[in-house]
């Protein structure tokens, strides 16, 4: 049985069924959240840690969730913020300029035991890694997670027009990178 967000929220808001509601929430979103994070930070262990941290934060803030936004956009917002924070920390930890994060992530991708993409997939991933963080996030959410612009806009708190422009630029850049290589 697939539970709707409204039903999950109902369970969470009832003290007697809050744990059950949280289990339902994780059942429904753990994979989606993991993949959004994984495509941003590449490394599995880091993604696992960030995904867990995302749900810990969701648990801690359940009482403050008033249903002003959709449940899944709220969860995605926490997940994307955690992923972006991880990348920022990475830059600070290694004193990396923005361009070198891409190099670091590319190396991580090549040595990742949990990456089995062929040459074409590797080429595409490396092209995606050349995008600025926010553009990469938009591209991954749209292209791989097949989210609607409206929902991505709600997660990232930007306008749909802005997102479309970012996605358009991302696609053009990736095409150019693929042709160059």
């Amino acid at each position: 049985m697939s539970w709707t967000d409204e039903e999950i929220i109902e369970k969470i808001q009832d003290e007697k069924t809050v744990n059950y509601g949280f289990n339902l929430l994780m059942d429904k979103y753990q994979e989606k959240v993991y993949w959004v994070i994984r495509r941003m930070v590449i490394d599995h262990d880091a993604s696992d840690d960030i995904a867990q941290e995302t749900f810990v934060k969701v648990w801690k803030n359940l009482s403050s969730f008033k249903g002003d936004s959709k449940l899944y956009t709220w969860i995605y917002r926490i997940a994307t913020n955690e992923a972006l924070n991880h990348l920022r920390k990475m830059k600070r930890r290694f004193f990396l300029p923005i361009g070198d994060v891409e190099h670091e992530l590319s190396s991580s991708l090549e040595s990742d035991t949990y990456y089995s993409g062929d040459e074409i997939q590797m080429k595409l991933q490396k092209a995606i890694l050349k995008l600025p963080e926010k553009q990469r996030l938009v591209f991954n959410m749209k292209y791989f997670e097949e989210m609607k612009f409206k929902d991505i806009a709600e997660v990232l708190e930007v306008s749909v027009g802005n997102l479309k422009a970012q996605y358009h630029h991302a696609v053009k850049k990736i095409e150019r990178f693929l042709k160059e290589d």
């Binding site: 753990q30 993991y34 993949w35 867990q52 990456y115 074409i120 358009h168 696609v171």
Partner: protein, 169 residues
């Protein structure tokens, strides 16, 4: 949705269509154990009460107040003057021995108003005495007015001056 299909990403889809299999993967049964890991993390966080933001803020607040108090106490403390039990004679002897090393302002600092008055009275007395002594000394040394012309004349003759020498004097 129509609005979502107006950006052409076909080139990428065609490119990726040539590949086979999946790209990223996860360890076997990873998602089965995921919830358990999240719950143990939640429990860890609960047990680590010192990591709670409220606790952190309280600690930081208390520490700040403590530091402020320490700093205030230290700065408000005046430098204590060594209290040494010394007699007046000893003090006077000390000042007499070290008078060259003591500045006027230091002397004025330690002297009371009475001391200054007594010193000024003493100075006045001593000045009067000195004047009296000078006066007496002056009295002992006779001036020319104390002698008559004859006496002076006789004295000059005794000393070997002649009448002719008078003009040279």
């Amino acid at each position: 949705m129509e609005e979502d299909k107006n950006i052409n990403d076909e080139a990428i889809r065609t490119f990726l269509g040539k590949s086979e299999g999946s790209d990223f993967k996860v360890p076997e049964n990873y998602f089965e154990g995921f919830q358990k890991n999240v719950y143990s993390k939640i429990l860890d966080n609960k047990n680590q009460w010192w990591k709670l933001p409220q606790v952190k803020m309280t600690l930081v607040g208390t520490l700040s107040v403590f530091l402020v108090v320490i700093v205030l106490i230290d700065f408000s403390k005046s430098i204590s003057v060594a209290e040494v039990d010394m007699s007046e004679q000893e003090l006077l002897a000390y000042y007499a021995d070290n008078i060259d090393e003591i500045s006027e302002s230091e002397i004025l600092e330690i002297m009371t108003e009475d001391d200054l008055n007594s010193i000024s009275e003493g100075l006045i007395d001593s000045t009067d005495k000195k004047k009296e002594e000078v006066r007496e000394e002056k009295k002992e040394i006779p001036s020319l007015d104390d002698f008559t012309d004859e006496e002076i004349y006789e004295y000059m003759l005794d000393e070997g001056y002649d009448d002719g020498d008078w003009d040279n004097l």
